[in-house]
Amino acid sequence: MLPIMLYLQGLFTPQEQPIHWTFEVRRTTMTEATVYFKASLGHGWHLYSQALPEGGPVKTTFTFVDSESFVLVGKVVEPKPTIKYEKYSDMKVSYFENAVVFQQEIKLNDERSVVNGSIRFAVCSEQVCLSPQTIEFSIKVD
């Protein structure tokens, strides 16, 4: 029993960083662009969707700093999340594993722009939840 348990523990302990964010922007036309926010998740970790039932775990929230050089078009779009019934909270939660890309369309008023803002989120594994984090981004649109 003991040797098997040790082997399994080694195999399934999340070794990588729980989450790593990268940002990218691509112009679609002269005046329009899409900003991509990619979260790469370590094995065993998940990130929650932006839309959760009232009182759910910390949902992922994007905040943009107002700027004259661009306008947001619509909201931050996310892919279809995994929906799971969480026993202890007796509710369905929506989350992403492995990797997820959020997208925000913007309309540019200037040739160049910088999109500033922050993302508030929490990552959890089966056993723990890391305290909520807020990271800032500053993405140049050339």
Binding site: M5, Q9, E86, Y88, Q127, V128, C129, S131
Partner: protein
């Protein structure tokens, strides 16, 4: 039915000593490996086999859940792979089950046999948790079990409810920024990159995932077995609406401080929002007030604290401990239980 039979068997096995249980466990484990390997080479299972494996597989899944192994694979993954591969593995799943139960009963034995508990040994168990955290209930259950099963009186459990899962519209009624700050301080002392819940710190020196029963119990055993030269005596009384606490410690240590906590021993809460919304949660050893005082040169300290409005005396206790300020190491601990002592005003 099946579970009851196995549970009864495991009770019998409690009489065995550690050595024979280890032998049985390892032998059963080897049987399982053999069974899985044989099953792998067999391929498809017959329908009858599949049905019985489903039953045994369910039992295995329950064991994993009850073990609360912190780094175990998701239990359904493991069950599925056993079902898929162990064609004739029914008997080996049973062996695995027995082996796992021996593992579980081993922890009971840790309690019953004469594990060295020194007369000066102690274990201060600090749990950082929140009603709004869905990974926390197993840790809450673990400390409840430890509290209930403690026969030594030398295990001091403090449950700090952190505030970072609170948000607009809902708050864990026992959470305080002060308790989050204490967890942040431990991150500094123990050189951690992040804070998380649930987390347990034992004697200010080692930390674990709060639901990791095995590691936590091992750390508690180590604490109970240690020899210490310091001692802490505590006395408390209610006077003029304040709780007065007198602490006497043998050693005067300028590099340490006295931490005194007013503990509500148990509470039952209907959670109206947060991750555990709709559930009825029970908590133990909730820290409701915390004071930190530099150790007095005279080694006797009296501190007064205003208790919360729901303080009732009965069902509450004071836990105190001496903690090094440089690294968080706890060198002695003591308690005053309002239930077992007569509370008299001076």
């Amino acid at each position: 039915m099946f579970i009851r039979v196995i549970a009864a068997l495991s009770h019998l096995k409690l009489q065995y000593d550690m050595k024979s249980i280890k032998t049985i466990t390892i032998a059963s484990g080897l049987l399982v490996v053999l069974g899985v390997l044989i099953g792998l080479s067999n391929g498809n299972t017959s329908r009858n086999h599949a049905a019985s494996i489903n039953t045994a597989g369910f039992i295995v899944e329950e064991l994993y859940k009850s073990e609360r192994c912190s780094s175990c694979p998701p239990s359904n993954e493991l069950v599925e792979s056993i079902q898929r591969d162990a064609g004739t593995g029914k008997i080996y799943i049973l062996a695995f089950h027995l082996a796992a139960l021996f593992g579980l009963s081993k922890e009971k034995i840790l309690r019953n046999e004469t594990t060295p508990v020194s007369s000066s040994g102690f274990a201060v168990v600090e749990l950082f948790t929140s009603e709004g955290c869905n990974t926390c209930p197993p840790a809450d259950e673990l400390v409840q079990k430890i509290q209930r099963d403690d026969g030594t009186g030398k295990i001091y459990i403090l449950a700090f409810h952190v505030d970072y899962w609170d948000h607009q519209g809902w708050k864990d009624k026992f959470s305080e920024k002060e308790y989050t700050n204490r967890q942040i301080q431990y991150a500094g002392w123990l050189k951690l990159q992040t804070i998380y819940t649930p987390q347990i710190v034992v004697n200010g020196t080692t930390e674990y995932v709060g639901s990791d029963k095995r590691s936590v119990l091992r750390a508690i055993s180590t604490g109970l077995a240690q020899e210490t030269s310091t001692k802490l005596e505590m006395k408390a009384w209610l006077q003029d609406d304040q709780v007065h606490v007198e602490s006497k410690t043998v050693v005067d240590d300028k590099n340490a401080e006295l931490v005194i906590a007013l503990i509500q021993k148990s509470a039952h809460v209907d959670v109206l929002a947060g991750e555990n919304m709709g559930r009825s949660l029970s908590h133990v050893q909730i820290v409701r007030r915390m004071n930190r005082i530099p150790l007095d040169v005279n080694t006797k300290t009296v501190v007064a604290m205003k208790p919360p409005v729901d303080f009732t005396g009965r069902g509450w206790e004071i836990i105190g401990f001496v903690q090094q300020t440089s690294n968080g190491r706890i060198t002695s601990a003591g308690r005053f239980d309002f239930d077992s002592k007569v509370v008299s005003s001076k």
